[in-house]
Symmetry: C2
Subunit: 339 residues, 2 copies
Amino acid sequence: MTQSNSGISSSPLEKSLRIEVVAAIDIGGTNTVFGLVDEKGKVLLKESIATEHFPIPGDLVAVVSDHIRKALAQFQNTYELVGVGIGAPNGNYFTGNIEFAPNLKWKGIVPLAKLFSDKLSVKAVLTNDANAAAIGEMMFGAAKGMKDFIFITLGTGLGSGIVVNGEMVYGHDGFAGEIGHVIMFPDGRQCGCGRKGCLETYCSATGIKTTYQQLTTNNLQLTTSNQQPATKNKPPINSKYIYDQAISGDKNAIEAFNYTGELLGLALANSVAYTSPQAIFLFGGLALAGDLIFKPTIENFEKNLLNIYKNKIKILPSQLNENDAAIHGAASLIWKEIK
Amino acid sequence: MTQSNSGISSSPLEKSLRIEVVAAIDIGGTNTVFGLVDEKGKVLLKESIATEHFPIPGDLVAVVSDHIRKALAQFQNTYELVGVGIGAPNGNYFTGNIEFAPNLKWKGIVPLAKLFSDKLSVKAVLTNDANAAAIGEMMFGAAKGMKDFIFITLGTGLGSGIVVNGEMVYGHDGFAGEIGHVIMFPDGRQCGCGRKGCLETYCSATGIKTTYQQLTTNNLQLTTSNQQPATKNKPPINSKYIYDQAISGDKNAIEAFNYTGELLGLALANSVAYTSPQAIFLFGGLALAGDLIFKPTIENFEKNLLNIYKNKIKILPSQLNENDAAIHGAASLIWKEIK
């Protein structure tokens, strides 16, 4: 009989009959979503807790690990935990640390992979959420079998994961793939990173909101700055609202999507000049706007592509399920490592 | 006794005692340079012929192959040819073809690797000249032991080779690494590729010439367009001339280098957001200008870098010998393949 950290005893025979699963953990500024996922991507458990309730990372690790152990026990030894995959902002694949994440309350360097590995006695691997989702697209989504692609998340910001020759590009320091912080206009909109004109200040839920607000204010022309008008007695404007307005024919809302697609198309055409991918996948709220975002993006993409790349690179919607994408991403990260 | 295509007879024993060499061939619009290179990078033979004298690619292949065979014979069986490496504009690593190269007289698709392989009865590999030089830097230059770096050639245009995790990035189609064609200004200077505002229209020998000419003409402000003044009774302006002027204190020449460095620094900072390299190497005529180009480039590079990348990525001069770089590049391409 062996006694594992998860508190489950089993004979070697019992162990060999169990189905392997991984723990998938997605750390967000607001919530941490975690679950158990098998090799085919089936989500066997999914839970969520508020990240901000845990000012000390070790406390969150303890609680999440405890939930995972209990869940495994509830399944009555059907499953064997073989690894932990973690997606987290500023997650460094090489060190397993979250490093200076501006959107988390945990400051400095947090050795999250080691904390989970120690608690659950299995290998734990960490990367940023966009990289994890890109691997998810490769294992469980539309990038199956593709060796060269770029994955873009259009959320509050713009995240990205780059796959070259079947491998995630981590760079020498673990921080490659920050396409959202390519500077489009050196004197452009103020970015949360402290610089100006980053792609994500235009092409993201936040970016399209700024664009729409500029367009709907008579006094303001559409500019590359992020000056926003004072809003009085107006409904809250977010990307869903702008989408609804566009669908009902509002010219400013349509123009906001066109402008977003124009810049995204240009930025993606430039991206091709680096890694010449087979496809670029768009994921996240804005990507769900369908033709409203894809049409201007693809049009401006093709227009700005170098001749040798024209008409052979697809811009496609991600096939990851919006609800399970984070879990699938974190799970695929560790599955890719193990298998 | 075996009879090889190179016309050299030898016993198996003699063959095993011979030193392995590769043929290195660099196809340029004007000249084709070729030679024999051993595994340590020693150039045993170097010759040059005019590319444009051969309207039919097969004729050039025949003549170059003949020279190589004769050279091997002259060395009296000391060397054994084990492969051919070719650097060529629009060279596609995957197909071994030169595909639609605008700067060559050979139109359409030219199966150059196959032509050489057939003639010399050894494996032949082809890629574009900048990729080949990047591999040369990795095997024989300052990138030895580096797994992630970017190599930039500042010549008539701006070429680039990107190495990720120790491997050249070829992309899905063999055409990755065209950083010179990243669009900096959508309405910028006219580029030879047919589009406007490509990086190489600013940061190259051609680009700095345009910049300098704009600066030295009273009627013209420095602009992002490539409008050039009419020149009457003036000495020929090239990057060497601008360098000499800058060294002797000419403010416009110094400003031309500063402007080139400003844009190059920004473009390289953006490049880091893709692959987060350990270093970026600058090669070619402009890179030989030393501080004049490196100082403004590095200053603007650091200024424009995302926080997580600051102060850890080096911009360095290539250590490839300017004269042998093309040969070393082509040789390292095939050595990397064989070893």
